[in-house]
Structures are given as structure tokens and as C-alpha cells.
Symmetry: C6
Amino acid sequence: MNEAALLATRHGAEAVSGGDFAEAIERMIAGLEKKNRVLNEQERRVVAHHELGHALVAMALPGTDPVQKISIIPRGVAALGYTLQRPTEDRFVMTREELENKMAVLLGGRAAEEVMFDHLSTGAANDLAKVTEIARSMVMRYAMVKSLGHVAYEEERPPFLGGPLPSGHREYSEATAREIDVAVRQIIDGTYEKAVAILRRERALLEQWALKLLDRETLVERDLEELRRAVARDAPQPA
Amino acid sequence: MNEAALLATRHGAEAVSGGDFAEAIERMIAGLEKKNRVLNEQERRVVAHHELGHALVAMALPGTDPVQKISIIPRGVAALGYTLQRPTEDRFVMTREELENKMAVLLGGRAAEEVMFDHLSTGAANDLAKVTEIARSMVMRYAMVKSLGHVAYEEERPPFLGGPLPSGHREYSEATAREIDVAVRQIIDGTYEKAVAILRRERALLEQWALKLLDRETLVERDLEELRRAVARDAPQPA
Amino acid sequence: MNEAALLATRHGAEAVSGGDFAEAIERMIAGLEKKNRVLNEQERRVVAHHELGHALVAMALPGTDPVQKISIIPRGVAALGYTLQRPTEDRFVMTREELENKMAVLLGGRAAEEVMFDHLSTGAANDLAKVTEIARSMVMRYAMVKSLGHVAYEEERPPFLGGPLPSGHREYSEATAREIDVAVRQIIDGTYEKAVAILRRERALLEQWALKLLDRETLVERDLEELRRAVARDAPQPA
Amino acid sequence: MNEAALLATRHGAEAVSGGDFAEAIERMIAGLEKKNRVLNEQERRVVAHHELGHALVAMALPGTDPVQKISIIPRGVAALGYTLQRPTEDRFVMTREELENKMAVLLGGRAAEEVMFDHLSTGAANDLAKVTEIARSMVMRYAMVKSLGHVAYEEERPPFLGGPLPSGHREYSEATAREIDVAVRQIIDGTYEKAVAILRRERALLEQWALKLLDRETLVERDLEELRRAVARDAPQPA
Amino acid sequence: MNEAALLATRHGAEAVSGGDFAEAIERMIAGLEKKNRVLNEQERRVVAHHELGHALVAMALPGTDPVQKISIIPRGVAALGYTLQRPTEDRFVMTREELENKMAVLLGGRAAEEVMFDHLSTGAANDLAKVTEIARSMVMRYAMVKSLGHVAYEEERPPFLGGPLPSGHREYSEATAREIDVAVRQIIDGTYEKAVAILRRERALLEQWALKLLDRETLVERDLEELRRAVARDAPQPA
Amino acid sequence: MNEAALLATRHGAEAVSGGDFAEAIERMIAGLEKKNRVLNEQERRVVAHHELGHALVAMALPGTDPVQKISIIPRGVAALGYTLQRPTEDRFVMTREELENKMAVLLGGRAAEEVMFDHLSTGAANDLAKVTEIARSMVMRYAMVKSLGHVAYEEERPPFLGGPLPSGHREYSEATAREIDVAVRQIIDGTYEKAVAILRRERALLEQWALKLLDRETLVERDLEELRRAVARDAPQPA
């Protein structure tokens, strides 16, 4: 709201418009629009395919939030492009499958880079950090990996049934830490494979729409609706 | 009392009534009643079965506190539903078996989700944290696992027979930490299996009463007495 | 106030009475004799056998302090019963055997529970902490385990022959930490077996005197003298 | 003052002169051109080949920043010589291959010392620190090593999907730390071999131009353009 | 000096006498003389043999400081008896052999208890701490164990050849920590065996003079000279 | 300078002379001259051979700083004797071979003790600390051990290519820490063997000049020039 009011003030409006809100929300997600950050041509191509990778995986997987906007106009310090998903609803309970789909969307950017350019780049750093955080929570807080038992491995726990928690060291053993690492790696690599498989299937759409994105710099809802229908036609079974 | 007084004031009462107290106590356990938190239909179904899972396991196991109320009206920040157990008495000495039954009740929610939906969700995070804390206390404070000896593995101990305890590191070795991890996992998984077995046996009641709970949102003592009798009939031997 | 509200709720009252308040205040006072702490019947039986376990092991082992009083009237926050041993003299030098006998007395409570009820309970937590502390001192400060050498493994040592001790980490290696853990476990389990053996031999006295203790709540010196003589008759060789 | 006294002592003076003071003050000033730092002849030869090593590797690898200036006039506290690369553009997305080329340039100095003198010296300390930092980022932040999965192993992560990160210990296990070490070592040694191979191929240029650099002390753009063309002629395939 | 002055004041003297000095020095070594600490008969016997153990080992080993006084009158908080050795000179360089002899004297107390009573007691705690400290210094600071190399394993080192030392963790590896533990244990157990061997040889003197010490409570220089001559006669080769 | 001014003041001079400076510099290196510290005869012999050990190894190895003065008059708190080396020039780049020669000089003291007395003493503690610091820098900062790769293992590194370094734990793994330990030990023991070999070869000079040093207490440049020539004659090939 503050952000929207500020924007309204800045362009001299009397009231905060719906456009101000939309812009404020986008700003919060991807940072300040910076037209002056100049990527080279190859970087622009990488970013365009990266962002379309997020979008295509989201469109191919059931239960993920719909894609609202894709842009390759750099914003803020870190974001070189962004894909905006509109949450259809607040979610309070999520299953392992739903979390894995969310992760696959996050890994879709890197997967698109691999499918198109066969490289690994620095562009996925933020996505990797988020994906790792989700995977560690799945393993350690939500006990979603059977081999580790229905055990919570988190440090911070409500004081329950007795004294304060000892601090300064890990509660669980090295061998268990290794089991956690292996489980995290398996979950992430599994979802990455899912993203890669989707993008290999949708490679034609990926290439064709990357060209559109490079040309227009931003794809809005109408474009994306068209893309979504194309993806739906490719899907083995409608979701 | 503060809470009760506040409630009384809020609805304009001159004095604090028993109902205010009951409400205040419930609030302390499950947080503020928030009718405005909107779960989607599938989430409500998950929550309803989760809460009934707690209740049915409690009813099937001897020596657990009787279930007083079940509700799927979300309360507070974390609780999406709650199952209120009234302690029949303060307990001062508990056996391993009694603690395992308590754990089985806590795991009943997740077990019901597995039995009904065959999924693992984020809904059990608090239950898992509590169950892990109990299991670690059983292993480390109460030395209830024979293979680890009648040894206390807790950090905080009354200074006894000499100087201050060294701090900043774990007193016991890595190999022992691993033994503790394995013991904790075995205890928890054993009690989880117990909960699942009960709910597979009571699956009909679980489905039938979940529908009631979804319809009425809250089950009170009279309803629960009926459910308890139904569970008692199913029990292999009356407890 | 919380406590009073809870008590009122527990006996089904509509409002909090003066008696509830008085009770709540008493509950908060620690260290005094609290008849109002109500153990259930089974808990009282467990506590009675637990305390007699301490006493009978003390009476059966040479060189331990004589038992002066046994009571199952709860005291303070933690103690549900207590066995008072009068030190016959201050001791300045103790041998490994004497320390093990002291430990056997401490483990006598849990051993009695196992002999009588075949369970492991939370009632022995304090005893286990003390026993572990003694065993760790035997291993680490007094170097009483030959395989670990005549080496002190304690952190805190008088600065001697040079600079300050490095801090923040354990001086000895993981493999040595494991040797210490194993030695501690062996000492404790050995003394526990000693306590169990004594109580199996004295099971008749244990059962008979537990009934007396449940009836009178407190056993004083005259009673205990009688019990001591009975134990002495059973002993394979007079101590 | 200490510095001045030391200088006086070194040239055998009876007292500290004004010149000694001036010199001492200059020595303390960092970042400025310091002709008074006197390297011995062998050190000058080592530095000259070291700097040319950076330059030749940069010229031989595609996509690295062009070399603008090389100097063996010592600057500042740490730099005994320097090779200035002019970034052609800001880079926002870099691939593993591009980062490895950057590392090869950094290791070019040490590689030149090995090729020419068959020794390992202290002169590469800063290069090694930078190279290690890049390699660790490739492994831990950018997940560019397939065997470690698409997992972020960094400590500092945006708080996401839940509570604060536990601190004071490493999040991942010892076995994973070892995998990271091995991966870092492989990446660095691979790029080092690449630098050595280039310099063995360009050994004639290295020797010939080191003589020029020792003679002129600084090589500027015109010289470097000539060198670049020479390197280009040697390259197996024009990049 | 303060201590001596205080003593002089306390018994009303005008000046500090030589006796006050002697007493002050003894007090610093063994703490305040406390005639009121009452050991039982067996404890007195243990202490007497323990102190004679120190003295006899010192007398049997070349290069150790001569024994000046032995007493079983308890002093201070910790000392139940004491053996006073007068350093013949300040030592600045000590060899491994000399340090081992010093350790053998410290372990002579415990060795005497084993030879006479075949027990391990708490009485040697201070001796063990000192012996361990010496052995760790031999291994870690003085590099006196060939298999560990001429390497210093201490944390605190003069900042040399570069930046500050990293803190908060051990510089060396776990495997090296274990090597250190094993080396420490071997040195200590070797010197302990030396002490035991001496005391088995001198068992007759040990028993005979323990009786004298129990009778007189304190042995002074004249007595000790007689004992020393007796030990010298037993020695396989005069030292 | 302060020190020199103080010395001048102390002997009543009007100005600070070169001699005052020389003395001040020596004081900084070896501490305050303390004629009152009395070593026993054997200790003096050990110190004399120890210091000559440093000097002889320095004279036998090419590229080490020339020995300016040797003294066995104790200085300061720690130094029992000292060997002063005058740096011929400031060095900015050092090779592994040069650092190893520097280490061999430092270990020459202990090596002389072993060659002459076949003992290990406490006298080498400072030398060992310095040698270990150099060896660790060779392994960890300068990556001079091929098997560990061209990797920097130091904690403190210039912040490069991203966020702050995590603290409180070691960056590298246990297995790598062990590799570092083994490499350090090998480097040190190799240089120690070099020092021992030199001193065995020069044993006659060592014995002969130790007598001179014991007699005169200090050897100055003229004496040392004579010794240097004698060493040069023994050298297999002139350096």
C-alpha cells in the first residue's frame, strides 16, 4: 500500500489506481524496474529462455499458481528478468507432491538453460537457494522422506516436556546429517529431471516464445493464455 | 484469567462466566478463533481427517486423556484445527508405554492423512516436533532404551560431585549421537505404525465422522461419547 | 490465576472459587510438604517400591550410608518420595568400589520398578543424572578405567606448566569420546545389574514393606532397623 | 620510527637521517607507486614471467577481458607487479566455462613460474585465494558440479518458507564437505592444467616478452596488441 | 611474603621469622593447615601410603627434586596430605626423560595405593590432572613423540609469517587428535608402570615408613635422609 | 627508537648512538639481557650446542641470511640464548625451497641437541611453533603441496565474488584437515632430517665451537666469518 501510494504521488495522481497497485506488487517481487541495466545479446537470450522455462513448467504442472506476466526488463539488484505467478488462493496445507511441483517451477529456469544452451550458469543462484530451502524443510521439518522416519530434525522447537534446548551444536549425528544431505539432493534432482523432461517436450514452444519475449520484452496475460493453451494441447493427459 | 476477563468485557458481561473461562483456556491451547482464515475444500477435508485421527487413536488406546472437543474452525497463527483432550488427572510418573501412547495420539493426525489420502503434508509439523521432543527425552533423559544403558545423555545436569560442566560442545561422542538418532527414529516409527494400524481398523468411523465434522465444524462431548462407544466396540479387547 | 482457572474447569465449576485460588497458591509453593499433590494409586505404588528399592540396596551393600527415613509424601517440585540416608562420616577418599555401591543405591529405585512392574518410567530421571555424573567423573577425572589410562579427560584443569588452555572445543578426540561413553555405560549397567540382583533376592521384603510404606506413608528409624536386620539375614555373607 | 631505525641500521649509518624518515613514511603509504621497493634480480624475473603468464593465458582464451597494461613496478603493500584487464562489458550471467577461463587467467601467473622456473613460490597467494573463492562459489552457490546435485550449500540464504536459520554449525554433513573439497580441487587443478598447457605452447613468447618487460618495466596497449596477434597466430583454432 | 607477614602478625611477632617463611611457602603449596578435618582410619592409611609413594619414587629416580617434608595433616580444601619437594635449582631446559621422572613422582601416590590396596581411588585426581597436562605439553608443545613429527599442535602461537590465527575450532584434524590422545596415554601409562615397579621393589620400606608416618603424622628432613639412604641401597645402580 | 632512546638515557648519553640502535634491535628480537638468570652447567651446554646448531645449518645452506652474532647470555623471559641473522635484503617472493631452508635453520637448534645429546628437550618450543606456522602457510596459503591442489585453505580471505564468509567452523572437511596435517608433518620432518644431516657432517665444528661459545659466551662477526669459511670447506659443492 505504501509503495502504491508512493507511486501514485510520484506521477501526481490524486488517488491510488489499480495500476499503481499492480506495479507496487511487481516491485516487491522483482525489485525496482531498471531499464539502464544493459545485458549483452547472449545474456538477454539466456534470461529470456530462463524465464520462459519457469512459465512453461508452471503451465505443464497441475496445481501451480498461474503465470501472470513474464518480463526480461531487469529489476532491482539481482533480478535480470522475472516471471510473476498469481497465487489463486492462500495455501495452508501442502503435500509433498505440491511442494515438488513448486520446486520444479523454480528449477524450470535452469532446466531451460540446459535444454537450450547445454550450460550451467550463475543465473539460477536465487532459484537454487529457494529450492534447497524447500527441500530441507520437506526433509527436516515435515518428515516427508520415509527412510528418515517421522522425526523432526529442526533445531528450533517449542519447549516441550522439559528443560531448555542445548545450543551451539547440532542435535543430530553426522551420519544423520549425511542422510539428510542425500535425501535433499535426491528430491531436488528428481524435480529438476521433471522440469527438464517438460521442457524437452515443449522445446518448440520454448524457442518460439523466447523469440517473442526477446522482441516484446514483456508478455502479459493475453499472450500467456495463448501459451497455456498450447502447453495444454501437448500435455499427455489434461490435468 | 486476563483472557477470560477480556472476553467478558468484550461481550459486555458484568462478571467472568464459566463459558468465558472455557473459551479462554481453549484460546490458550489453540490460539485465537479466526473464522476469516479460509481453507480450500481439499484443505478442510485434510484437516477434518487429521483431527479425527488424533481423536480416534486417543479413544482406541488405554490411559490417554479423553477427547473433549474437536473443531476445524482455524485458530491462531498455526492451528488449522484442534482436538482438545481433557487431562483426567495430573500425572507425575509415566511409563514408556504411556509416553508411546501419547505419541501415537499426536501422530494420529498424520496417520489419518496417510490412510485416507496416501500423502505426506505440511499439516503435521507441530505434531512431529512434539513427538520428536518426547522421543528424545525418552532416550536421553529417561534412559528408556536398553541398548543405550541407564545413562542420562542430557547436557543440563545438576552440578554434582565436582566442578562445572564444560559447555560449547556435546558431552557424548558422535557414535553415541548416532545411536540416539536411531533409537529416536525407531520409537517414533513404531508408534506411528500403531496409529496407522488403529486408523486402518477404524477407517469406516474415520470417513463417516469426518463428514459430520466437515458439516458441523465442531464436535462436542455428546458427539464424542457416541464415537468413543463405537471405537470401544471395535477394540479387540476392551481396555 | 491460570492454575486456579484450570482447577475450576477440572472439577466442572462455573466460576473460580476461593478454594481453587488457595489450592493454586499452594501448588506454586515449592519445597514444602504437599499433601495436595495427588498421585494416583498406581503412581503411589510405583513411588513406594522405588523408594524401598533405594533403601534395600543400601542395606545390602557394605559401606553405604545408613537409611534414616523413607517417605512417599511428595516434597517440592520434583521429589515424589524420598529416602534419607544419614552419612556416618565425611568421606575424603573413595575407591571405585565405594562409588559403585553409591551408584547402585541410586539405581535401586529404577531397579525396584523393573523387578516389580517390569517397566521403565520417568520417575528415575534425577537418579540417572546423578549416576551418570558419578560414572563420568570415575572415567574422566579419577581415571578408574584401566583401558583409558591414568589420564584426566576433564576440560577444566589447573593451569600448569605453561599457557592458557584453549577453549571452545573438546581437548580429546572423537574416538576417545566414544571410549569414554562406552566405559560410562559399562560402569552404570554393571551397577544396575548389581541393584537388580539384590532386589530379586529381596523381592519378598520389597513387596511386604512396600505395603507398609503405602499404609503409613513414612518409615522411621525403628522400622528401618527391623528391615535392615531382615536384609542382613538374607545376605550371602554378613558385611 | 622503528622502520627508519631499521633502514639506518641496514645501510650502516650511526644515526637515523632525514632520508631514512622520508623513506619510512613512503613505505607506510600503500597503493602508490613505490620504486623504493627493491626486488632482487631473481625476484624481478619471477614477477615479470608471472605477470606475462596472466596476460598470455587471457589472450589465448576466448571471452576473457582484454589486457590493457602490464607492469612490474611494485604497487601497494601486496602487489609486486600487475596485469590490468579492461572489462569489455559488465557481465550479469556467466557460465561455468567462462568462470573457468577467468580462473585460468588468475592461475596463469603461477603456471608461468612453474613453466619457466619449475618452482612454487609465495607470489601467487592472492591469486590462489581468489581462484578458490570462485571455485567454491561454482560448487556451493551455483551448483555447477552435477555430482553434488542442483543444491545450494551456502550458509547465508534468504529466509524462505519458515523460521530463522540455525547458526554456529555447518548445515551440511562432513561427507558432503569432503565432496565439496574434492570438487573444488578438481575444478582448480583442471583450470591450472589449462593455463600450463597454454604457456608451454607460448613459451617462446613468454621468454621473449619477459625480457622486454624486464627492460621497459611497463607494457602498454600498443605492445600488447602486438603480443595478442602473436598469440592468435599460435592458437589451434581462432576463437 | 604477604603470607609470612600475616602469619607473624597472627602470632604477635615483631618481625617475620624464618619459620614464618617456611610455613608460608608450605601453605602456598598445600593450603591452610586444617587439623579439624577428620579422615577415618582407612583414609589415613591410604593417604600415608599415597604420600610415601610420591617420596619413594622421587628418591629412586635421578634428577628429581629432593623430598623435604611429608605430612598427613590435611591442609586446605583439597589436600589430604602432602609431600614437599625442594627444587635444587630453577630449571630452564628439561629433557623428555626428566619430565617423565617428574611425572613418575606425581603418579607415585596412586601407584602406592595400587601396590598396597589394589584399588583405584579419588585421591589422585590432582596428580592425574598435572600429569596429563605435562604429557600433553610433551606431545603438543615440545614435539617429544617422534611419530607425530617435529610439529607444534598448540592453538596459541606467536603471530608469525602472516595473518591472525583462525579461532573457534581446532587447527588439526580428528585423526591427529586421536594420535595425540594415544601418545599422551602411552607416555602416562609408561611412567605409571615405572612408579609401580619402584614401589613393588620398595614395598617393605613403603609399609614400614607408612607406619612411622601414621604414628608421627609428619616426617622431616632427618627422617627422610634415613629413608633416602635405604632407597639408595636398594637401587640396582647408584644414580 | 623508543627502546634506543631509553638505552641512551640510561647510560647518560646526549644522543642515540648506532650502538644503542643495535642493542635496541637485538632486544626486540631476543628480549632484555638478563645476566641474573642462572642456567646450570648442563643447560648451558645444551643451549650452546642449540644456538650453534642454528648457525651451522644457516651457514651450510645457500640463500639463508648470514649469522651476525651468537650468544648464550639469557635474554628476556623465554630466550636462553640467541642467534642473530642479518637479513641481506628484504624478500618479497620466496620459493618452497627457500622456505624449507629457513625452516631447517630454525630446526637446527633441536637437531644439534639430538646429534650431541640424543635427547628431545623443551628448549625448542619457540622454534617448533615458528616452523609449524611456516609449514602450515606453505600448505594452506601458498598451496605448495601438489597433492592438495592449487587451493587456498585459509579461513580469512578477501571477500570476493559474493557475500560474507560464514564463520565459527572450518570451511574444509575433516579428511582435508587430515591431508593438511600429514603434509605439514612431512615438510617439517624432511627439513629436520636436512638439518640433522648437516650437523652430523659438521659435528667436529659443532663440538669445537660450542666449547668456544661456552668459554666466551658471545661470538661476533669475526669469529663467525672464520666458522663460515670452515663450513664452506666441508660443503659438498660450494653454494
